[in-house]
Symmetry: C2
Subunit: 375 residues, 2 copies
């Protein structure tokens, strides 16, 4: 309850359905797109204080505050969004959508395709970060936001902020690119592929038509999440959190839970498998794999960044091995070489990739200063 005191308070999700079609990068067109989103704070008169918060792989629109008095769920970035916090809702109007393809109310694989009257399922097109940004443009237009004060996010969220600054240089003033990478490494793709194969080879996946057959590929989704969780935490964080502690204090010479870390992973996998859509998870991993802004510039990131006008803050965390500081430096180095306005910050943290979710003091102060500075 204590955490609520400093939060934006009770929030409510809202939604919008766009009349415009969206031409996707794959060539397909999506119609009647619905986006669910939350907002915190007030939009000022000249609409110049709007901040777009972008979620990562399994995130959603609920990034701050809480829903019901009885419902303990605080938003995923509640530590950073709120009155007086890093993203100060006394000053800014925060917009937090569930992205296209999501499974928390926005149009996605589990939605009804209005053209067929059936659930999209596996026929939902494979979308890209570019498509997400284009879809967020529709939301910005709808909310009368010509230019974002800032676009900010961690991990895949940071990639969206970067893409905004590339694709719509005149509609974004500041980009917060946190715990991200300019593109995935082969190892990153490999972990995603294991997650995908876990889902796809689950007999209940039914080639993606599980809803139609009233099944859920929970086994696969559970494994996918377990693998994911290992990459979100650092070896160090796991050591601090679990060490080699035995759940029952002794070895059992069996395959039940023995070490605390096993119990943690199974639990995380179980709750995720109950609440997330498998086709959406597949999509999200593809969004990550495909992200490569330098691809159309023969791999030249400096050239790719030429169009950027926004002021950029790049943040990395020492214990993050999913997207290590070296990967963030690739972004900031290329921005520097392209003559852009960039600051780079490496935060000491033991939480691994998940560090971006925690309100570490230097991290909070830097984001606050970055957002508050004149650009």
């Amino acid at each position: 309850m204590e955490k609520r005191i400093n939060s934006v308070g009770k929030v409510k999700a809202t939604s919008v359905e766009f009349k415009d079609e969206l031409l996707l990068e794959c060539g397909q067109v999506l119609k009647n797109i619905k986006l669910v989103y939350e907002t915190y704070g007030e939009l000022n008169e000249d609409c110049s204080n709007a901040i777009l918060v972008c979620h990562a792989l399994s995130g959603n629109h609920h990034s701050a505050g809480y829903y019901e008095d009885e419902d303990e769920r605080l938003g995923w970035w509640n530590a950073l969004i709120g009155p007086g916090k890093a993203i100060d809702t006394n000053k800014y109007f925060v917009v937090s959508p569930n992205n296209l393809g999501g499974c928390h109310g926005s149009t996605g694989p589990s939605s009804i395709n209005s053209e067929t009257g059936e659930v999209y399922g596996p026929d939902f097109p494979v979308i890209t970060v570019s498509d997400w940004v284009n879809c967020q443009v529709l939301l910005a237009d709808y909310l009368n936001i010509a230019t974002w004060h800032s676009v900010i996010g961690g991990s895949l969220g940071g990639m969206q902020a970067l893409k905004w600054s590339l694709a719509y240089p005149d509609r974004i003033k500041k980009a917060g690119v946190i715990a991200a990478a300019p593109k995935l490494s082969a190892q990153n793709i490999a972990f995603n592929e294991v997650a995908r194969q876990a889902i796809i080879t689950d007999p209940d996946f039914q080639e993606g038509h599980y809803q139609k057959y009233n099944k859920l590929p929970k086994r696969g989704l559970r494994l996918a999440r377990m693998v994911g969780h290992i990459t979100y935490l650092s070896d160090e964080a796991m050591k601090e959190k679990f060490g080699r502690e035995l759940k029952e204090g002794k070895l059992n010479f069996g395959y039940g839970v023995e070490f605390e870390v096993e119990s943690y992973l199974r639990y995380q996998g179980d709750i995720f498998a109950e609440s997330f859509d498998a086709n959406t998870y597949l999509l999200m991993t593809k969004l990550l794999d495909y992200f490569d802004p330098a691809d159309k510039f023969n791999g030249d990131l400096v050239k790719a960044f030429e169009s950027i006008k926004a002021q950029v803050l790049v943040v990395s965390f020492t214990s993050d091995w999913r997207f290590s500081p070296a990967r963030s430096k690739e972004i900031s180095d290329a921005l520097l070489q392209a003559g852009k306005d960039v600051s780079y910050l490496e935060i000491d943290s033991s939480h691994g990739h998940d560090s971006f979710l925690f309100a570490e003091d230097r991290y909070v102060r830097s984001i606050k200063a970055f957002l508050g500075s004149d650009s």
Copy 2:
């Protein structure tokens, strides 16, 4: 074919069935244990030149040479074992068993339990590195080897070498502990747990009784191997090997193979799932998780090492993130503090954990010198 020229040539596996019972660490007793093994080189008159080669997680007794003229399979450590090689078969008599619990001929979960007349399956006891070493003692006795010139192995193989030096200080002169760790970290256990859960939750696993039902949990075994492979290779090695190369040169916006690394992982998973036993794989991961020689000494590795008399060579590889150089240093530091005869070697290599399989020049020369030195 070129690799054959320098090999030990055509080899044949042999086997022995022990009359002695084996009391396991879990308290159970195993009878009529059969071990399959290969030998290379000649045992000298005073039986003082025998080297025990210990395999890792998914290894077996076939560590050098080849079987048939038409069969291309070279032993897994063929790069290091052979005439004039690091483990010189002109000088040494190399003994290479398939460990207890294995699935390549030695008594294991897929063997018939002589007491019930049925396949052990999931009822095969959970064994430990200690049990492996005790079983190898039976083999040493059978082969008339009172003292090993050396016991050597990589990864889980290195843990066996270490355990030999601890448990039978008078029966081992040199221990080669390569790419190992004094115990698994929480992250190591976590990866093993994902592999286990992939197997156990495969509907074809049938609670381990898949043989009885004529099924094979291939999906699970495939996923387990895919996860494993990511941890065997370094990010760097994956980058060199695959980068972000697209199999068909372009994105397909689908879930077939797109990136080369996906193709590699699926292939590795497929062949493993065809050839390895799931219950054995579960066992092997438990052997790793349980290994902790300091456990009975309140975590004090220096105290644990007091009994050691062997000369020890500890080798690590710079790009190994499964068992990093820091983990090997824990072993060598504790040996030094315990006043033991230890050399530590860190090899520059980009192959990740798999580096111990490659004949890197400095690595080969060091092992050769270590084995050849007077102790």
